[in-house]
Symmetry: D2
Subunit: 359 residues, 4 copies
């Protein structure tokens, strides 16, 4: 058991606080013989890196990753891969003001109740900086999965504004600062988020992550369900409040006759589904179709508008959270969601191989 580990056979343990000297992760269970370089991991970290547009926090972190173990002469050795990212742009003095105050929507109060103390600098362990370690681990997970499995994420809703699905185009995601697959909606969000930011406010979002190329048969019934692990993985990301697979909540309103994914033999002589209401998972096991999930991120809790709260001493106070925050933390959650999908799939690939001897 561990409060800070994820996965069983592809096992990630993360450590580090927002304003400590560094953060990182240890990835245990890596198959041997996989080529991997720091640059290949860096590619994914750069996507999550703060300060890349005016819509994310202006904290300047290079997020440069170092491989400290587990890779020898350019390939994994089968021993634990330790990855470290140094923190360079901590301005801890920003936090003196809220040292004793509980910021609404943050974990400040519950930390104090649970542990009797807290690292108040930037949320300490609860900071979204921890997700850098997830993205680094996710880069290794992609290596384990191989090129045949493609994992992509997109922002599909910001505040009340959802994309138009008829314009969904993965290639658009790299062309705007939101990972938005719909060019027109991206423009709308730009104006909308500017107004939110001017209000000293923030807003929530919905992220969609899709994995293509996953073979049928990964996952397990009951408590080893692929979707249960995905739900936990996504819900473990900061600020996430909801997860759904395939039709998700909409499935409640469907009839069985509508929701059934019928099957036929494909032109290639292989089984084929005629629809994907299931989101690629039935009974906890992958069907071979795209695995499709969405998760909702609540609005950033750090806002400039004053909110009522209390402090450690039971005094009633007003809290304004200055510092450098994301007006929509959902944007940077896209690469994090992808990384978690990759980690869960890598784990289930190895679990499936263990039990059945097959990929």
């Amino acid at each position: 058991m561990s409060h800070n580990s994820y996965g069983h056979l592809f096992r990630v343990t993360t450590w580090g606080e927002s304003h400590g000297p560094a953060l990182g992760c240890v990835v245990d269970g890596m198959p041997p013989g996989i080529p991997v370089t720091e640059d290949e991991i860096q590619v994914w970290l750069d996507r999550r890196k703060p300060g890349q547009s005016r819509f994310t926090t202006q904290r300047r972190e290079p997020d440069q990753v170092r491989i400290l173990s587990g890779v020898f002469e350019g390939v994994t050795t089968g021993t634990p891969v330790s990855l470290m990212i140094e923190n360079t742009d901590q301005r801890s003095k920003d936090y003196g003001e809220i040292k004793d105050r509980y910021r609404p929507g943050h974990a400040d109060y519950v930390y104090d109740v649970k542990y009797g103390l807290r690292d108040y600098r930037g949320g300490g362990r609860s900071s979204a900086r921890e997700t850098a370690a997830r993205v680094a681990a996710g880069a290794l997970a992609r290596k384990v999965l191989g090129d045949g499995i493609v994992i992509r994420g997109a922002l599909v809703q910001v505040g009340p504004h959802a994309i138009d699905r008829s314009r969904f185009d993965w290639t658009e995601c790299a062309r705007n600062p939101f990972w938005c697959p719909d060019a027109e909606t991206a423009k709308l969000w730009e104006d909308y988020l500017d107004s939110v930011r001017k209000d000293g406010d923030s807003v929530g979002a919905v992220i969609e992550v899709v994995a293509s190329g996953v073979p049928a048969g990964w996952g397990a019934p009951i408590y080893g369900k692929l979707d249960a692990d995905l739900a936990a993985a996504m819900m473990s990301i900061n600020a996430v409040k909801a997860v759904e697979i395939g039709e998700g909540f909409a499935a409640a309103a469907l009839r069985g006759s509508e929701n059934a994914d019928e099957m036929r033999m494909g032109a290639d002589g292989r089984p084929q589904f005629l629809s994907n209401h299931a989101g690629g998972i039935l009974g906890g096991i992958s069907t071979g179709q795209d695995i499709v999930l969405r998760f909702a991120v609540k609005p950033t809790s750090s806002i400039l508008q004053p909110k009522r709260s209390i402090d450690r001493h039971g005094q009633e106070v007003e809290v304004v959270t200055r510092g450098r925050h994301d007006p929509c933390v959902g944007i940077r959650a896209v690469p994090v969601g992808e990384a978690m999908m990759a980690a869960v799939l890598a784990d289930h690939f190895l679990r499936h191989r263990a039990q059945t001897g097959r990929r």
Copy 2:
């Protein structure tokens, strides 16, 4: 690691198939000295039991639980509690017809791909009968939590018909066959489900589970988040496709200024939240408010309407699923959701006590 266990310190391992001789669970980690009888567990099983109204499967199972170990002279000994429920009303011959056919929406196809074979009788391990073991374990979890923590579930949506929240009344739940907290909507569902049933069809649902009396401080940051474990727990229930905590998906559309749960000192001199958008969990840790979650159940996949599929030999077929099925499996998911909430909380209670020495 285990595909069939749940929890860490309150650890539940379930076993059994729909049409095997019995099913059950082993609950490891029970604190010693807790009074428990078979009757106390039976109370909860009776709530989940099939055949209690025309809206659930007509399979007749007494679901009589036996305690095989871990309880001596009426109290737990701290050793594993083994619970067994015998299957008595298996009509396996009902399933001969679908032996080689993949029922759409079921796990038949993926089982065959994963394992190379499957127990086709009633879905085998994937049958919702497995949830009887969950409910039995949940009864023990409630014992661990004590009377101060109350866990209640309700059906809040059937097909497109949601309850009217202004009429929400927990006491109504026991007065209709749906666990519906809104008497008027319950009547509407009765007619609606009759029509669904007559169509040989089925429909999805949304369940809400609320835990009151949970102290602040349970859970942990990062991968030991209370909400992540709850999400996995609910998603591991048969047919569940979505989970949300507090505002859930609605949080995406909120502004930070709306979503913040402000705090003040209560009349009792203790910290008080002025709202509960968070659903009782911040940063993965309980706030002391009600823990509120909802999950969506897809429509029962076993329907009388013919659907296109294939069989094990690659032949295209039409599948009609006879047998005795729930037109809305969401109804019986209510006590299951409660049980899973109880199991997760019992586990986190013990985890919190381990690390901090406090309740």
Copy 3:
């Protein structure tokens, strides 16, 4: 985490007390498609069964195993295999006398301190009857390993009397009631144990377990070492106080030049070791040679000679343990040690396959 589970991918959870209605285990992680019958498991249970000679307890238990799940049409389905053995010959009244007394050498006192209560009937959970579940699980583990791996155990020392290694013959083990590989020593033990029994006393023993046919490469460095898991497995058996691999304690007295297992290419063109001081494991990983371990079992604590102790109320008492006990519990530990070896190897086979994709 679990106090009552063993292994990771071949995961065994046992339950049950000496005088409860039944005991059993759940084996999770079984690969699918393996033929297995109750009779095949029974073979191994019969070897451990009490009452087969005057040198083991006279309790009469048929130890009849039932498969309750996980096997369909004669083969494993990949879902958990639940095995149950009913207790039939409990004479709980034998234990009324020691209900409040702490038997020296038993866990009575520590149970009471730990849990605040104990099931005093036959040692409750601490009874050696629990090992029946291990043997049943071991039978499944052998199935996972296949016929190429042969696991054999022998009793090599009883009290001060060790076998003569020059007479070691595996086929002798089945010809005497001790699993003794040396016919002459077996005769000596017969007289010796008769005298021990007449004294109302008991005696310890050393068991050797050897696994042949294990390929090189199973196990892992550091905390996943094959020998570490074997050590834990053997030490978890009732009354075991010591474990050693290969040269074991004797290695302390050797020089590096003596202890090195040199290598040459064999006549078959494959690497060959010229000796096996290592006992088949280097750096936690199997070498392909025989895996050889020994463990020591202390003398049965239940003896007819009176011993000083105290009771629950702090009164000083004398304890004589009547009941039906093994004068040398080490005898019946032989099949248990074999079973634990099989379970550990099955687990490491699957772990190795998970990480490397190879057997």
Copy 4:
């Protein structure tokens, strides 16, 4: 599951190779509010540090530990503590010669078979340098246990030369380079080891570790046995081939009447054992007496005497292991054994507290 983690609630994950840039560990589950400094950890690392006498390797490593997370303002926060030690004195070129050769007694061959490759520099992950991370983690474990529990180790046998138990004096351990509790034997070892070293040879050893002050009640029956976890912990240390608790192997030769630890009420009105054959553990649970274990370390495999072996290409070769090696690796195993004892006890303290709410 993890190949590189140890413990459940006090959970240690180590990483790093002998000749990588650094090594370290992540300790998860630390209770909050415990004061800890780098200096307090360094004390223990300095005891294990190489190069402190002519009887250990001459590699010069300061083994300076850094705390990277989990400690804020001098106390633990309850989040993972990441500890890192940089490698500074790697002379990797020493290893070019054995790059393709399998050193007898080392894990070289099995690594290659298992992983298809290996980090040949200094044994890579299998190097005893990994034990620095164990010692660092052990320092934190001692902090969790508090001052009431004292853990001490001693070297009690080197080659064939055991100490004289009548001269056992813990205070002597700090006065010689061997942690020898018997001053006269220490002198003998000095000469003996000089001669071993001159022969270009090495020798094995036996270490004893004792924990005083452990309350009765820690541990659990069956697979959570304190002694099983201790056995695994010690066996996981490099070169360890045997572990015993209390009488250990000697218990095999004892009669039940001799081995029983009788009880009486002590002068302080508390239960008292009259002997400690059990080594402080009965039925897997601590008795309140000293926990006493011994483990055997094989002779260092790296020796200057030439040994027959093969290389990766199947060529027969002679191997001489130059480099800087410990003539008796058992010496430095003393602080490592202590650290592992501390880690196991810290874990079981938390496990006990979780289940029972008491220390």
